[in-house]
Each structure stands twice: as structure tokens, then as C-alpha cells.
Amino acid sequence: MKLTWKWLLEHLETEAGIDQVVETLPKLGLEVASVIDIAKDLREFVSVEVLEVNKHPNADKLNVCIVFDGNKHFKVVCGAHNVKVGMIGVFAYVGTFIPGLNFTLKSGNIRGEQSDGMLCSEKELTISDKHEGIIELPKSTKNGLSVVDVLELNDPIIEIEITPNRGDCLGVRGIARDLAASGIGTLKELKIKEIEGDFESLINWKIDLNKDENFLCPKIFGRSFTDLTNKASPSWMQKRLLAVDQRPISSLVDITNYIMIDLGRPLHAYDIKKIEGKNLTVKKSKKGDKFNALNGKIYDLNNEMLVISDSHGIDDLAGIMGGERTSVNLNTTEIFLEAAIFSPSSIAQTGRALNINSDARYRFERGLDYNSPELVMHYAALMIQKICGGKVSKIVSLQNKNENKKIIFNPEIILKLSGVIIENNKSLKILEKLGFNVLVDNNNWNIIVPSWRSDIDGVADIVEEIIRVNGYSSIPTIMLSRKNYIAKPAMNSKHRQSFFATRILATRGYNEVITFSFLNKVMAHQFNGGQNSLSLVNPISSELTDMRPSILPNLIQAAQKNINKGIDNISLCETGPVFKGDSPNEQLNSISGIRIGNKYIRDWKKTSEKFDFYDIKSDVLETLYSIGSPSNSLKIFTDAPNYFHPGRSATFKIGINIIANFGEIHPEITEFYGLKSSVFGFEIFPDKIPIPKNNKTARPMLKTASLQAVTREFAFIVDNLLESEKVIQAAKSADKKLITDIMIYDIYEGKNIPEGKKSIAIKVTIQPNLESLTDKDLEQISSNIIKVIKTKLSGTLREV
């Protein structure tokens, strides 16, 4: 909402200057977006008379002029085509800052001729975009006057951001009222003369709505004007309209726009001669109806849109935009003026469906003063008669009864809700100035809400009105008490899992990223997503259409972007949601990561080594252990989802729940992203990790073995497809008490090993607990291991 300083003063009687007003507005909740005062930069520009115009001796298009500011003569080189002897121009002295050119004028020599100043165009003064020719002031202008005074530029423009609840402040008067309530001045009385009208209106209203739809148009007013002269509006009006971004068109149109800004009350004028029949009917459109709007576009209407129609058809989209057919132009001599109240939600629906954003729609949607239609009939009549002459008819109207809202208010609630101590008298005064009517009965205030405040409907609203005008700075600062709690963490175990996991991964070299929760359809399908219930109806681009089923595609894409920037070795991780369906329990938390490229870079010390499956497996296990996954219940399976390489991927499960998928990403997907090297990735689902229920902080007693452990090494020849884990499990079963650790230290296939077989070398740690083991005991354990590998896995001890 834009207004000018002088416009505001039409409604506000105040001693305060603009600075004080601009400071007060945000304190009332009216945020000031900008204040533009072009006059600030233009005070030094003065009117001068052009006394001589001589051709520049060295340049065809330039003239050398002598100008006079009433005091001194100046020689100026000027290139404007319209410069002529006797004209009054706008002159900049040497040393003046020219805002339109963004420099300070110096005296100069232009092609051999001295130039001590400049004759200016409107663009150079930033008054308009006009740059063809210099400004020509009226002949009567005296020399040496500031252009600010001559052109009346001394009217700063204030732009205010109005919150959606304050429809009443979408007019200058509403803003003035709030300012007056704050004590900065008084609200002037609105100049209204009730004009009864000389004749019956040429046009009448009809409402063609079902009874239960009366709320769509609870009130509509109109009156006719005849014998009008519609020419360009007066320049004071044009200037103000231009200042608030309204394009001047003709007196009649400009008056309706002026009143809309002035009172926040949109109006519509029909050219009576173009209306067919004697009635205008408010009704709902039908599917298939077309509407030819003022903006030159044709709209297809549906069944639910509120329109106004004559006997020919629809020619007004109620509260949003008028029609082309009955529009006012410079030849118009008779108009019918409409002021109505329409249902804000109906207007919003229609406006959104047709994508029309008009000033009228904006105001209707935010709620108009219910009493404004009758008031504006008189207000407009006065202005139209003054500017366009002619005659005014009586008012025609249809309306439902509407009583102002009443709120029962106990003033003690002010302190209870806001903490502000304020005297009742002060509260009452604030309410009164805002237009509320209060009947005081001890602590029972009967408050009648003014017709322009449709946003007020409860005690909390009343409290806000009072403390807002009283000033938020008088709200006390109270610290939240500590009595209610003992020191406790903000995070619960679930939050801690993400927190720890990201840290473990980052210490292992991963860089945490945050990527969008949506991705494109192809990627969604690749990772088993893309179902209808997770597709966006209105995606921002075709790249961001589906909720992600996995974080991995995002990470792969992120890696690809880095590779394109010349980075080869990449470890990225992210913790965030993945979506299996659209209900809350189908949103899972996932901790994911990928690695590409080299684990070690070749340097003077060592050769390079690429990331492999086992790096990822170790990342996953380390992360799982640090976020509370019990190591003894983790089971490994080879049925990872199909976006992994089937031979190089695995899954950890606890019971039937998948805790993690990991391994090499399927080469088909890697190739799809144009990646040349293998991508290793994982996804952990921490929600599936059981959280131990007991809250004990004490740990079980530490038991350390006092006897020294013994190790024995074996190499077995087994089937080359046998999973090594089986060898470990089998060997372990030889003596579950004494064997505490088994490590595979070599895998070999090839020379000296039969076809289809491999050699697995293990180191077994045997930990005696009660007494030292004899050689005989150890031999017994060794032969048990050999035996069990033979019987369970048909493995044989490798002859060395």
C-alpha cells in the first residue's frame, strides 16, 4: 500500500513530521517498506530563462545557450532539440548532484565551448522516464525558484506492508486512523455531504442467488450520473495516482481509483449507454460462460463465480474486474456507479481460479467496511460533480441487515495475556480512537467492533489492539522460570542417533550435505519410489516432482556435480527423511552416504587405493555401533535392494527389520549418471534400531583376563563360493568359551589351489579364563577346529 505524505495529511491533523510518522507506523504493526522523497535531491535545481540560443561552432546537434537565473547569466552547451529562446527551463549549477545520471556536475569544455551548468530533462531529475528534450516550465514561472516548489515535488511517497488482517489500512484513511489512535495527531472528519439525488436511477439492482447464497452479496449500492464531461483528471489527482502506481486514464476512472486508495473502497463505473436493459443482476456464472475483461483478456468462467450481468450478458466479475463492453471512456456522459460487499472467500476463489490479481480483489478479499457502500455513494458523488459536472440520481440498493460484532471483555485479561499493566481509562481511550464503542459495566465491557474491522472477533484481538497502540515496548521482559525443570537434554535418543551418526561419518571423512526432499520421476523410480501418492501436483520444475524414496540418488547427483567441477574423491553423507508413503509413519529417517574415487591418493609415500565395498561396510558398522545398534543381533544378508550391485551389496537386519543397505551402487544407475568410477553407498534406518529401555547409567563390571591369550593360525581350502563368515562361525563353534576372536588374514585363489576352491587363512585367539592351557589342551582345540571345518564345510587344512 502506497500513499503520499500530503495525502495522509488530508486525513490526519498532526504537528508531527514525516520522520516521526515513519517511526510510529511499524510500532502500530504497519511495516514501512520504503520512503521515497525525490525532492531531497532536487532542491538545488532552479528555474531559468533561456536568453540566447546559438549554434555550436563545432557540433551540428549542439547549441550554446545563455540562461538567466534572475541573478546571474550562465553559458551552457545544450543538445536538446526543444531548447528555444524565451523558454523557462530547469537548470543545474556546477556542483549539483544529478540523480538521474548519478554524478555531480562539473564545469566543462564541450568541443571547445565552455559550459557552466546544465538544462535538465525529466529523466535526469528522476521525475519520469522522459528523456527527449528538456523540461519546459510554464511561461509565468519566475526565475531562480526551486523546481521542487515549481513542480510541487515535495510530497514523499511512503510504502507500507499491510498484513492480511488489516483490510481497513488498504486506504489512506485507515492508516491515518491508526496513527491518530497512537496519539500522533487527530483524525480529520471525512468531508461528506449527503446528496439525495434529483431523479430515479436509470439502472436498478437485482440479485439472482439462492436464499442460502445471500452471503455472497450481502449488500450492493448504486446510483446514476448523467450529463458528465469525462476528460483527463486534474493534475493534482494525476500526480497522486502516479505516485501510488495508478495510471491516470480519465476523470471518471481516476475518481474511482482515487477513492479506492483514499478510503480503501473499490468502486466500479458502468457506461449506462452500453448497458442493455434497465437492470444489473448479481448472479453466479455457469460453466461455459465467457467474460471479456477490461484488461483485454477473455476468461472462461465456471459454475461458482459471482458476476454481474445485464440483459445482454455478463460484464463484470464481481469485486475483481469490470468488463470491456460496458467500460467507461472519454466519450462517456452517463455512468452507473457500483459499491458492494461481496463474500471475501468467493472473490478469493474466483480470483485464484482465473489468476487475476487486481487492486479491487486484494481489498475485497481482506474485508471491506460494511458501511462503506452508502457512505461512498455520497463521497463519490461530490467528487464526480466537482470534476465532471452533471446530475446525480437517487441511490438504489439491496442489502441484508448486518449488526456490528459485539465482544464481552474483562479488562483484567490484558494483564493476564500480555503482562502489561495499563489503566482502564487509557485502554478505553485507545479503543475509542480506533472506532470501537465500549459500554462499561465495571469489569464487563460491552465492546461494539467498528464496521471496518472484520478481523476483530475475540478478546485476544481486543488485547492486541490495546497493547499495540500502547506500544509493545511497554510489555515487560520476564525470564522463563527455572523452577519447573531439572537440567535435561533437548534431544531424545532418536535425535541423538542422527547427531552421533553424522559426527562419526564426518570424522571418517564424509562431508555432510542437505539436499532437497524431492527429485525427478526417473530417479524416484530407479530407487523404487515414484508412486502417485508421493508426486507433486505443482512441482517447481520437472527435476523436483517426486518425494524421494532414498537419499542415495540425491547424493549421487551431488557427487556428479562435484565431479563436473573437477573433484574426484568424494565422500558425502546426509541425514534426513525418505518417503515410502504419504502418512506420517511412512516417513523414515535415513542416514546415508556415498564414497567415490580414492581412499588414498598416490603421493611420495604410497600408491593410491580406491574405495571398496569393505570401506563402506566398515563405515556402516562403525556408525551402527555408535548409535546403539547391538552388535550381536546384527545379521548380514545378501538381498539388498535392486539399486545395488547384486554381487557387491548386503543388508544388515535385526530380526526382520532392515537396519542398513550398503554396497556398490548398481552399475546401470552409475552409468545413467555418467559416472565412470564405481560408487559405494549405504543407507541406515535408525528408526528400526531398538532403543534399550532401561535408563541405568551404571555399566556391567569390567572383567579382564589375567591369563595371557594364545593365538593359532590355520589355512583351510574351501569351496570358493563359501562365505567367509561361515568359516568363522564354524571355527568359533569348536570351543565357544575359549575362542574369543577369529580374524581372516588372507584369502587366496590360484596357483597350488585346486580349481573352484580358495584358501582362507585365519588367526584364532584362545583366551584361557581359569587356568593356563597346556600344549595338549591347545592341540585339542586346534584339532577340534580342523574337524569342525571338515564336517560342516568340507574344508581341509592347507598343506604348506
Partner: protein, 379 residues
Amino acid sequence: MFSGFKSTMTNQIKEKLIKLSEEIADLISCSSDLTNLDEIRVSSFGKKGSVTAYLKNLKDYDEDTKKEIGSLVNQVKSNINNLIETKKVSFRQDLLNNRINSEKIDVTLSSKERDLGTLHPLSRTIEELSAIFADMGFSIVEGPDIETDYYNFTALNIPKEHPARQEHDTFYLEPDKEGNRKVLRTHTSPVQIRTMEKLNLKEFDEIRYIIPGRTYRSDHDATHSPMFHQCEGLVLGKNINMGHLKGCLIEFCRSYFNVENLPVRFRPSYFPFTEPSAEVDIGCKKEKDGSLSIGEGEDWLEILGSGMIHPKVLEGVGINSNIYQGFAFGMGLERLTMLKYGIPDLRPFYDSDLRWLKHYGFLPIDNPSLHSGLNGVFS
């Protein structure tokens, strides 16, 4: 025997011994290494050693001579042993020096590259917020990103066709069979509703929650991202008023930006789910180089929205607004992060550019907390 002869003979033996001792001393000083030194020791004091021979011969002499020569032999032995020990120390020193000299390396050669990864600035901010609010007794709750119209709008007093809805630029999911379409939450406020719905009204006295999370609006330009992060706050009790809102948020702003005298301003504003509502600004100053510094200055920066929970919202979840009242607030986390850490541009937050992550990211071991600090000083 004449005593004169005896003394002559004794003297001769003495001279020989001294000569021998001098010879051995020469040998020691010319010895080449520890092995050679050991040979000298053996050839002198071994079973067949040259000095040992004198001790063996002692038995042939009378007591006085025995005594005299014996003492001299012991003296020689001790002297030579000292010389050998000294020489040994010097050899060991030489050996060590040689080893040290031979072990010299080029310390300017590069060491292993730093292999610590980094944490994203946004998750850092969430943790800083959590630490500050934990100190004020808040705990974290979360809610789903995919919401129903009810939780995202209606329950928050934003009915259909309300102008505030249009400011939300909502993403919609494909409608289900009944024609209901879910939305991507446009703010974290629906979690307020979900949280309050779960309260046991008989037991609770006061709650303090923060709700960080992803939020979505269909807007994409230099200062808007279709996905962004918010943190919501919710305090509900029997004696909570707007003064508490003010106290809580002033403390938060000053702690987060680490500026003790940071000016914090509360302005009336409008949110459908709070009444009265307040926008919160902090003081700032535009520096000559165009950058912004947070603190006392002539400008204000809007950083969060807040207000007393609207009675309609409370009643909607079955809470008696005559007994309970509270406040809520919401802030954009990207903006907070950018302001605190001088990050000029929004878009790279989601671009996963390793150069950006390493530059603006944080050390994984730097855990924001009240005792270790909240401002990431070493990163």
C-alpha cells in the same frame, strides 16, 4: 736377599707395569670400535691377559713386594678400566650421532592430507539453537513433512480462501481416491497442533518445545528455495504471558548472535495462529564494505515471528484457553545461519559443492554446547 737388589727388582717390575699400562692406554685411545675395545680388555685382563700375568706372578714375591706390586696392578687395572669405559661412552655417543645423522628426513615433505569431513552449517545452527533452548528447559519434537490441509492450515486458524493461505505458495501432492490432497508443510507450525493434541490435559502443567525441520514453498529465486528450514517454538502453561515471550526471545537472540547488548525490538504483526502477534527485529549496522554486522546500529533486521497462541487454536485441540495460554514463535534457519556466519548466498546451501562445504562447514568434533561454546571458533 739384599734389600737393595729387592728394591731394584721391584722397581723394574713397576717400570714394566707402567710401560705396559701406557701401551694399553695407547691401544685404547687408538681402538677402532666397541669390539676392538673388548679385545683390548680381554688381552689385558683376561685369563691370559698381560696385566693378569703380573697378578699370577705375585705369589713368587715376598709380602712387601706382593703388597706393593699388587696395589700397583690394581691401580693400573682401575685406570685402564676407566679409560675403556670412557672410550665406550664415546663410541656409543658416536654411534648415536651417526644414527641420528643418518636418520635425517625432509620435514618439508607434505604430510597426509586432512581427512576430517565437515558438518553442514544448517545442522550446526539447529544444534546451536537446541543448546540455547535446552538451557531454558526446552526439548525437541518433530513432525511429518507431508501434512494434511487440516494440520497445516485449518487447525492453525487459516481457513480455506484466507488471504494468508495464498502467501504460503503451497506444494500439493496428487489427491487420493477420496479427492483429499496432502500438502508439503509450508511451516513447522503444524507440529504445534500434533504436539498439543497428544498432551495429557490432566497431567501437564507447562510444556516447552522447539520443533526444527524441513519446510516447503513453491518459490525459487535468489532468496527463496523450494525447501528450507524453520524452527518453531511452543511454550504452554497456566501463567505464561507475552512478557515471557519477550524474555525468552531476547535471551535467544543475544545468545545465538553472541552479542550481549544486542537490541531486540518487538513489533505488532499478524499471524492467523497467534494473537497478539509480534515480529522480532534485531539491531544491525551496515559496514562501509557493504557487509552487515549484528549489534547496536541504526538498522533493524527482521528475524522471527511470534505471538500468544490464538485461543481458537487452543480450543481446536481441546485445550481450555481460559486456563492455559502460551506463546509460539518461528524462524527461518537459513537466514539465521547466513547472518551469523557471513554466508552471502542461499542457494549453495543445497548444492553440495565440496568447496563450499569445506569452507563454511564445521568440525565434527566441535559440538555446540554451553560449556564448549556456540560459535564454532576453531573451524
